[in-house]
């Protein structure tokens, strides 16, 4: 018995753990949405409220809306101190705008210019998250590193009735004392361009003659063939061609490359993707309705689409002098309309050319 025990002990002492197969229970997260991605839509059910109660809720919401409208910007009433001056490497907050249409205006040399109208609808800063607290997903190394040194500003646009959205979504706003907004967009900013909650943003955040980048979703065109999606030529309509008028033709060669190469242009879904148009000139600004006229009709999206407006990143069109920093402060000596120097205002006299 004792002998057996001894043998067992020696065997056990010789026992070695070499290969440990561990299966970790922690899965690597592929995508972690930021905390403000809360479901917004709510199934509206009949609340069985009495008329009085409905009226009371309406009144309450209207009161809140009015107080929010009348709130002075925290930059004006002195509760917030601007720490630093603007320099060429700072990144300011942008605006959230709605594309409301196109129409022509004329330049001082008599040329017609097509413009796109962007309306800045009821923009307020919801929250600033400093770079230490902002914890973005690790994507490509470069972008991620950049995000680590920038703060994040949430900007909301268009106040809505809080009873029409989910509680989680409303909580995002009520935690900072605001009413919920229809659109909530994120801007990466330098820490010195931080803004306090409740700061209204206006179209005068940009100046006339500046260049901006516009980011929006392109028009959704659905599943499209190769001719519309990639501009292929198709094949002839006649001369013996049958059943292949709009088809792509050959998509790969034989031999060593006897497969379809990745990235081959094929039919598929077209549009409804985020695209940025860079270096768009601002021609005119209306401060009463907060409308910006931009040169050209290439801004993505259809009429009524929402878009981000930033200061441009193009090196030759970047801002040279200091813009309103960190944003425009409302003042009384503001004009209703601002025109770029190349634009001919409609109220001016008829254009005439003098002999040289």
């Amino acid at each position: 018995m004792a002998n057996n025990l001894k043998i067992l002990c020696t065997k056990l002492s010789k026992l070695r753990l070499d290969h440990i197969v561990t299966r970790s229970a922690v899965f690597t997260v592929k995508y972690r949405p930021p905390y403000w991605y809360q479901p917004k839509e709510r199934v509206l059910s009949d609340e069985y409220l009495t008329q009085d109660n409905k009226k009371f809720i309406e009144e309450f919401i209207n009161d809140r809306k009015n107080t929010q409208q009348e709130l002075e910007s925290p930059l004006v009433n002195g509760t917030f101190q601007i720490s630093q001056q603007w320099n060429r490497s700072t990144r300011r907050v942008g605006l959230v705008a709605r594309k409301i249409g196109n129409y022509p205006i004329w330049s001082k040399d008599g040329k017609k210019m097509q413009t796109t109208l962007l309306q800045v609808v009821d923009n307020h800063v919801i929250k600033y998250i400093p770079p230490e607290e902002f914890n973005p997903m690790k994507t490509t190394e470069l972008k991620w590193r950049e995000k680590r040194r920038l703060g994040c500003i949430l900007v909301g646009s268009e106040t809505i009735d809080p009873t029409t959205v989910t509680k989680d979504y409303t909580d995002l706003f009520s935690r900072v004392g605001m009413l919920p907004k229809k659109h909530l967009f994120r801007f990466m900013v330098s820490p010195e361009a931080a803004l306090p909650t409740g700061t209204p943003l206006f179209a005068s955040h940009f100046r006339v003659g500046d260049y901006i980048d516009v980011r929006a979703k392109t028009m959704d065109r659905g599943f499209q063939g190769v001719m519309k999606r990639w501009g292929f030529k198709g094949m002839p309509a006649s001369h013996g061609v049958t059943k292949t008028h709009r088809r792509p033709g050959n998509i790969g060669a034989g031999g060593e490359k006897a497969r379809v190469w990745p990235g081959t242009k094929m039919p598929g879904h077209m549009g409804n993707r985020w695209r940025t148009l860079r270096g768009v000139k601002i021609l005119r600004i209306n401060t009463k309705y907060n409308v910006i006229w931009t040169l050209g009709v290439a801004i993505p999206g259809e009429t009524g689409a929402m878009c981000y407006l930033f200061d441009t990143v193009l090196p030759l069109r970047k801002l040279e002098s200091s813009p309103p920093f960190p944003t425009y402060l409302p003042s009384n000596d503001e004009l209703i309309e601002y025109y770029d120097e190349c634009v001919h205002p409609f109220a001016d006299r008829t254009l005439t050319f003098e002999e040289t």
């Binding site: 409301i100 249409g101 129409y103 022509p104 205006i105 004329w106 040399d109 008599g110 017609k112 109208l117 309306q119 209306n286 309705y289 409308v291 259809e302 009429t303 009524g304 001919h344 205002p345 409609f346 109220a347 001016d348 006299r349 008829t350 254009l351 005439t352 050319f353 003098e354 002999e355």
Partner: protein
């Protein structure tokens, strides 16, 4: 308990009824005797309002570009409002007269490439289209046996003057068939004198029917149901007549949805004209004053 509640509700009902009565008394509206008269009065007032509205709605023919494009994809109330404000501002600088397709106009524009830095063109308006600031019209004339067409933007700030030489309408809404007609139908002298209509007369419709040149044509005119062409049947073959019958769409005039989609609803139009009508009237008054002054001034210069 329940009895008490019922009593109280009854009481409340009674007070309500009483209050209603009281209010009626306060508003001094008679209850029964004069009711029919009131209805009549209301009818009259609506009739008047309709009449007034119709007068305002007539301006959709004079200022068609103030109505926006009816395509709902492009509608936006704020953009339309800003556009109308811009149009009025331009109209305060230049007098854009009332004219129609078929009227003969003289347009002077500032042109940096011309010798005198201005350019004047006379021609018949063959097309008018576009909404808002994109409104445009096309003039056609024959100069040195060569047909010339010039397209102008109505709100282009380089336009110095638009003068209506002859205010009239034609039988069709577009006169593109003048391109295939004999040249004398679209030839107008550049030194034409303006013909002034007496005030208050309706715009005359010119019933002239043009003669087309033999084929080939630029378009299939026979399919377009044109009233202003006289000799279209001469140039047709049997094949063309058969094709024309096959291509006809007589049901389209009954397509109410198609009509609706092409037009701005009357409620929207009322809003637009309410906003614009006053200023347009003022501009017209100012224009009339200047015209009177001019008529007063001209004999003096002749005397001198």
């Amino acid at each position: 308990m329940s009895f008490a509640i019922r009593r109280t509700t009854e009481l409340i009902g009674a007070t309500k009824w009483f209050l209603r009565r009281e209010c009626r008394v306060l508003s001094t509206l008679p209850e029964k005797t004069e009711e029919p008269e009131k209805v009549v009065a209301r009818k009259r007032s609506t009739g008047r309002r309709l009449f007034k509205n119709e007068a305002i709605l007539e301006s959709r023919h004079i200022y068609p570009e103030f109505l926006p494009d009816p395509n709902p994809k492009w509608r936006n109330s704020l953009r339309e409002k800003l556009e109308r404000a811009d149009m009025l501002q331009r109209r305060s600088q230049i007098d854009i007269p009332e004219f129609y397709v078929g009227s003969i106009l003289a347009v002077t524009i500032s042109d940096p490439h011309a010798q005198s830095k201005t350019n004047r063109f006379v021609g018949i308006c063959i097309e008018r289209k576009g909404c808002g600031l994109r409104a445009e019209f096309t003039l056609r004339n024959v100069v040195d046996h060569q047909g010339v067409e010039v397209r102008y933007d109505l709100y282009d700030p380089t336009i110095q003057n638009i003068q209506v030489l002859r205010l009239e309408k034609r039988l069709d809404e577009k006169l593109f068939y003048l391109r295939d007609a004999l040249p004398e139908y679209s030839t107008f002298p550049f030194d034409m004198d303006p013909e002034i209509l007496p005030e208050g007369t309706p715009v005359p419709i010119n019933p002239v029917q043009v003669k087309l040149k033999p084929r080939p044509w630029l378009e299939r005119w026979e399919r377009q149901d044109l009233k202003g062409v006289s000799n279209i049947e001469e140039h047709l073959k049997e094949k063309d007549r058969v094709r024309r019958e096959l291509r006809k769409t007589p049901w389209e005039k009954y397509d109410l949805m198609k009509q609706y989609r092409k037009t701005i609803p009357i409620e929207d139009q009322n809003d637009i004209w309410d906003e614009v009508h006053n200023q347009l009237q003022q501009l017209q008054m100012a224009k009339k004053k200047t015209v009177r002054k001019r008529t007063f001034v001209t004999p003096k210069t002749q005397l001198a």
